[in-house]
Structure formats: C-alpha cells, structure tokens
C-alpha cells in the first residue's frame, strides 16, 4: 500500500513535469512567427557591418508600407538551429557558415526556395556558379547568396619599392622568393617583419584546412563517386610541400612566436596594417578595414599567386559567402520571400550593402552595377569572384567536418610531426570517406 502510494505520487510528479514541458512546447510553438506586418530577420553581422545592413533594410521598409522589418544581429548557427528546433523562428535567417547548407537543405530546416523562384521567374544563373553551389545541397535549393567573401592577395607597396620589387608575385616560387627578400629579422634571429607568413591558422588567409590554397593549385577534394582524392590529386602534396618549405625557412618556432605576438586579425593592429607583414592572402573585407583603420597604408591588391605548373589559374581564388533562407515553421512565407528576393537579387540593394561592408555582391549584374563605389583595391576581388576557376569548398551533410580532418593532418605536417606525406594523405582519404559515410547515413564503411 505504502509503495503503491509513493509510486502514485512519483507518477503524478513525473506526469506534471511532462505536462508542464508539453505545455511549454505548445506555448512556444503558438507564438512562432510574428504579426503579418512585422517580420524579423536574423543576421550574423555586428557593429559597423550590422549598421550597413540595417541601412539596406531601412530602404526596403520605406518602399514596402505593408511590412516592418526587425533586424537582429550577432546571430550564429547555434542560435539558428535552436530557434528552428524550438519552433519559435524568425521569418528570415542568414548564416556566415555556408558549409552548413548541407544540413539545412537536407533536413528541410530551411525551406525549399524553388517554388518561389519559379513563381517569380528568377533564374539562378543570375548568380555566379560558385555562389549557386554553396547555396544548395544535392539539388535542394534552400538558400540564396547574400554577398560573398573572396580571397585575394595584399601587398605592401612601400616595402616592395624598398626591396626593388615592382609587381605582385604570380607564382608560388615568386611568392617564396619575394617572401625571403621582404623578411627582416631581429638580432636574436626572431622575425621582425615577415615577408609572407604561411603558417596554417595564422589569420584567415592561412585556413588550417587549406581551403584558401586549394583553388590556387587547382586541388580537387573528391572524385566523381564522391571519394576523397587528397592522396591521388598531386595538387595537395604540392601545397603542403611548398608551404612546409617556407615554414622551414623561417623556422617553425620563430613563426609560432611571431604569430603569438601578432595582434588579433580583426583589430586595428593587424600585422599587415601596421607593417609587420609585407604580403598576405586575405578576404576582400580587409579593404574596408584598412580604409577605416589605416587609410594612409600604401598597399595593392591582386589575385593570389598560383602553382607554377598552372599559370592559367592566375586570377582565381577561394570564395565563401553568407547564405540567406527561410526557416521551416515560418508564418509569413510570402513576406519573408519578398525580403529574401530583394536582398539577394536587387542590384541596387546588393550594391549599397557591398559599399557599406565591402563584401562582394553576389549577382552577375550587381558586379558591374553603377551603384558600386569605385575602388581600385576592391575591384580586384570582383574580378576574382567572376573568374571561372574560383572555387569554394565542398558542401556535405556534415558541414565542414572533413575540414577538421584535413586540418588535423596539415597542422601536424607543418610542425614536422606527420611523417611520410604520401602515406599520411592516403590515411587521410580513408578517414574522410569514413567520416562522410558516418555523417550522411550513420553507417561505417
């Protein structure tokens, strides 16, 4: 009797708890969306970039009396995922991590935009191929591009002049020679000014998973059947050998110390901006940062140097971009779509936002829009973006998970801890294949 009584009470308590949880879920689900005239957009931008975005949205607001758009900045993918799971979603979401488009499209978390595109007769060929690629997954188009990040080459003209160099390097061997010429060391052997710092993980241009270098060597990630080809495509060992030779020239520890002393890449004391770095690969946004923080800096931009054996690749670069879509469960689909359409396809909107944040606009028409403020440094990136050899990294169901495996190997390699390169890349291929299979279906090969 006593046990039955206690059991009943415990069951009651658990029942109450469950009820409370269910009630909470339905309560949150009930509040999803907003009133028809109020729609919310979540974006990753913050500070000055968020201000520029709000300016674009304000124009939209003025043109459309039927809606009021609320912009929420500083959003990352964790927040987007949590919102979709809770059912309390904003009307439009955008993410800096285009690698996650595989998850968003595959799961249906971001709704399919094809019906909207068809209804409004929008041809996706208005976006360059790379942007088309990173906004879909296996044919499911759940996102559109909202400005892109394009990686190019920055060089300090004053240092070039002092070293007797007249133009930026076009090949990797030229880059190596220039780097050695432009490097200055302290009396104790430490690096005072680095000509070019190839250390993986040092600033965005040296992405540790090698993404920024892959298009410069024409490196391919997978074969026709989707199998990893890092050991079979000689471009990867070329990248790693070239990079390691320059690391060894500087000394691994010397570079580590240099990196530790270099300021944060998004601070005004960025090594290139204060003259501690003569050349670098970086995103187009640096143009705006330099204009804001060090307007007197005498520098130039150009496409990044490429593999000596593939001069035809010169002009290409790594492309990545912000993606925008509509989460599932949204109540005001039409209003949300109208905003997405405006932000991603209207040349004027793209141009003024591009002017504000100095990111590359993502339609072919907007690349040549008269609204784009002329800037010689920035024009370089518009050309790189339009180059047919410019590439982004593969979109998979597991986001950039394969990148963490490439990174784990590459950072060991640059430290001299990876052993035999060919064997290491073969092992890496197997690991990536196994990981992709596990992430896609949960199975093991």
């Amino acid at each position: 009797m006593r046990r039955v009584g206690i059991g009943l009470l415990v069951a009651l308590v658990l029942g109450a708890a469950l009820l409370a949880a269910t009630a909470r879920t339905s309560a949150t689900a009930g509040t999803s969306g907003a009133k028809a005239e109020n729609i919310t957009i979540w974006v990753g931008w913050s500070a000055a970039e968020l201000k520029a975005f709000k300016g674009v949205v304000a124009e939209y607001d003025n043109k459309h009396a039927d809606v009021t758009v609320k912009v929420v900045g500083g959003i990352n993918d964790d927040k987007i995922t949590a919102a979709i799971r809770s059912g309390k979603v904003p009307d439009v979401v955008s993410s800096f991590t285009s690698a996650n488009v595989g998850s968003y499209c595959n799961s249906g978390a971001w709704i399919d935009l094809k019906p909207f595109l068809a209804k409004d007769k929008i041809d996706v060929n208005m976006f360059p191929k790379t942007s088309q690629y990173y906004t879909q997954y296996k044919g499911k188009r759940c996102a559109l591009p909202l400005l892109a990040d394009v990686y190019g080459f920055y060089y300090n003209k004053k240092m070039f002049k002092a070293a007797g160099l007249t133009s930026p390097p076009k090949t990797m061997s030229q880059l190596t020679a220039y780097a050695k010429k432009l490097t200055k060391k302290n009396s104790d052997g430490s690096i005072k000014v680095a000509g070019y710092n190839p250390f993986l993980g040092f600033y965005s241009g040296n992405a540790p998973d090698l993404t920024t270098y892959a298009p410069l060597f024409g490196a391919k990630y997978v074969d026709g059947s989707g199998k990893s080809v890092l050991s079979r495509d000689p471009a990867w060992s070329k990248i790693l050998k070239w990079q390691k030779s320059l690391i060894d020239w500087y000394g691994y520890k010397n570079l580590q110390k240099f990196n530790a002393g270099a300021a944060d890449e998004f601070s005004a004391s960025h090594a290139f901006e204060i003259g501690k770095l003569a050349m670098m690969i970086d995103g187009e946004w640096r143009v705006a940062f330099i204009a804001r923080e060090h307007p007197g800096l005498d520098y130039g931009t150009a496409p990044a140097p490429v593999d000596d054996a593939h001069p035809e690749l010169y002009g290409a670069g790594y492309v990545n971009g912000t993606i925008i879509g509509i989460p599932k469960g949204v109540k005001h689909k039409d209003q949300a779509w109208a905003l997405v359409k405006y932000l991603t396809t209207d040349s004027h909107a793209l141009a003024i936002f591009s002017n504000g944040v100095r990111n590359v606009p993502t339609t072919k028409a907007s690349l040549t829009s008269p609204d784009i403020k002329p800037d010689a440094h920035f024009k370089t990136f518009l050309k790189i973006f339009a180059n047919p050899n410019s590439k982004t990294s593969p979109i998979t169901a597991a986001g950039n998970a394969y990148g963490s495996l490439i990174q784990a190997f590459a950072v060991k390699w640059q430290a001299g801890h990876a052993g035999d390169l060919a064997k290491g890349l073969q092992k890496l291929d197997k690991q990536i294949d196994a990981q992709l299979k596990q992430a896609q279906a949960g199975g093991v090969p």
Binding site: F202, S204, A260
Partner: protein, 332 residues
C-alpha cells in the same frame, strides 16, 4: 460485557496502528511534497536527457530532422574509425592524471598553511580563494594573455632573467601544462573544503600524538591526513569527473591562442584543439561533432561512453578508497 471489553481491548491497538500508519503516511507525504521541486528538476533536466541521449546514440540525428535508427553504427565508428577520438582520450587522461593529483596536493598544502596562520587569517583566506570567483572564460583569457610567448609578462620577465621562455599555449608540449597552471590558480573551492576539514580535526588527537612523541610530519601523516581522508576522496572524485568534462578552458584557450577568438559568428574556421589537437579533450570533440557538424547521434554516443567511463572510474575510486579513507566514529 466481557466480550465487549475484549473487543474494545483488541480494537485499541488496531486504532493505534492505524493512527501510526496515518501519521507516517502524512510525514511521507510531506517529505515527498518537499522533494517535489527536486524530483521535477531531476526528471526534466537529468532523467529525461539521459534517457534521450541513450536513445539518440543509436540514431542518426542532425538536430533538425527526425532521428533515424541506425543501431550500433555510432559506437562502431567511435571505437574503430574516428581518427580524433584517440587524441581526445589521451589528452583527457593526461589532464586527469596530472591535474587532479596536483590540485588536491596544492589545495591541501595551501589549506595546511592557512590553518597554521596566526595573523591576517581572513586576508590570506580571501586572497587564496578569490581566483575561484573569476569566471573560467575570463580567467583563461587572462592566462593566454599573461603566457603569450611574445608579448606576455611572464616570458618578458623570464627573458630579463636570461631564460628563453616556453611557447605556452602555442606549443604542443606546453599547452596542457599551461591549462594545469590555470587549474591550480583557481583551486580556491577545494582549498576551502580542505581548510574546513583540517580545522575540524579534533585537538585531542594532536595532543595524544604529541605525548607519544610524534613530530609535525608524523602528526600530518598519522593524524591530519587520515582524519581528512573523506575530503581527499571527495576532491579526487569531483576532480576526476571535472577532468572528464574538461571543456570551457580548453575551448577558450584554443580559440584565443590561435588568434580566432573574434570570429564567433563564423564556424567555418575550426581551431578547437589548437595547437595540433593538443587541447582537444573528449568533451571538446563531443561538442564539435554535436554542435558544429550537426552530428548529434554520434555526439550522444560519445556522451553515453563518457557517462559509463565516469561511473566506472568513480566506482573504482570509491571501492579502492575503503583501504585509505577513515570515517571518524565509523565501525571498522
């Protein structure tokens, strides 16, 4: 009449029993009622997630679509193919094997010194306890700054002394020891528990030991340590569990030391484990799979294994402790 009296005599104990039962039930009801908030919290925030984690570990679950049953595939990948799990387990075992004993010894040592202090006791206790109040993220940021090999004050000082300082968080061999230093600095909570236990050791035991001719070291060995052994056990168990769940400091240190702290919104760049996976602890890898790569089924399998390991290690420590932990007043 006689029969009635007998019945009345018989029913009196019955009534008393009923009354006792009623009172006992009321007491139990009250206890249960008072426990209700905890029971609800436990069921909702612990029981339910635990059961769900076990279920999800047998599924492919990307957080966004419904879980898909895949049997033991996640466990097979975990044990046979995940190339990073080996490093993560090794790093986690390292931090447990090195940091936990050091924390216990350091906390106990500081507490012993504080227990002996005659003047400024309150001030010293506050000073040693204060670091425990610093939020882990802020403390880690400060340590990465202080131990910056190029611009940090520690290496600048070492340079003045003619010593070429290590690369600390930038080096595969120094990154974990740097985290241990951070752990020792913030050992205040353990230290306070030790201090309370040390101050609680009965005076008469010391007096008896002194009469028997025991010196300070012998008193420590034969009086203090056995008396505070339950606290040592507690610290070891808590320390091991904290070691198995070591995350915040490693996450922050890797991101900041690699120079990527400001890219909070961009999850394409991945510097967890920097440098060279030397700070890739098991929970960091778990987080990476679950929240960066949307592979929550696999992350759940990892968390179930973590729970099993934590439970087993705790059980082993507690079983082993019977040989060295003494409870005052407990029967042998």
């Amino acid at each position: 009449m006689t029969g009635l009296t007998v019945r009345a005599e018989r029913s009196a104990p019955l009534d008393r029993t009923r009354a006792r039962r009623k009172a006992a039930w009321r007491r139990r009801r009250l206890v249960l009622l008072l426990m209700t908030p905890w029971l609800i919290g436990f069921s909702v925030f612990f029981g339910y997630p635990l059961v769900m984690s076990v279920y999800l570990s047998f599924t492919h679950y990307d957080l966004l679509s419904s879980p898909k049953w895949i049997g033991t595939a996640n466990y097979r990948y975990l044990f046979t193919q995940d190339p990073q799990v080996g490093a993560a387990v090794r790093n986690t075992l390292w931090i447990i094997a090195v940091m936990v004993p050091l924390q216990v010894v350091f906390a106990c040592g500081v507490a012993l010194m504080l227990a002996r202090a005659r003047r400024g006791v309150g001030l010293f206790r506050t000073i040693f306890y204060l670091p425990a109040l610093a939020p882990p993220v802020a403390a880690t940021l400060a340590f990465v700054y202080i131990l910056n090999p190029a611009t940090g004050p520690v290496n600048i000082l070492l340079q003045h002394l003619g010593i070429n300082g290590p690369l600390w968080f930038q080096s595969t061999s120094w990154s974990k020891p740097s985290l241990v230093l951070l752990g020792l600095w913030g050992v205040g909570n353990t230290m306070i528990i030790f201090l309370a236990a040390i101050l609680d050791v009965p005076r008469h035991l010391y007096e008896s030991a002194e009469l028997d001719g025991a010196g300070p070291l012998q008193r420590l060995r034969w009086v203090t340590l056995p008396t505070i052994s339950p606290v040592i056990l507690f610290s070891v168990v808590i320390g091991v569990i904290a070691g198995l769940q070591y995350f915040t400091q490693a996450y922050v240190a890797a991101n900041v030391a690699s120079g990527q702290a400001s890219q909070a919104g961009d999850q394409t760049v991945n510097n967890l484990g920097y440098p060279e996976d030397s700070t890739l602890f098991y929970p960091v890898l778990l987080y990476q799979h679950g929240f960066r790569y949307f592979n929550m089924g696999y992350a759940s399998a990892m968390s179930v294994m973590l729970l099993v390991v934590a439970f087993t290690i705790t059980l082993l420590i507690i079983r082993n402790s019977r040989r060295w932990v003494h409870y005052v007043g407990a029967a042998k």
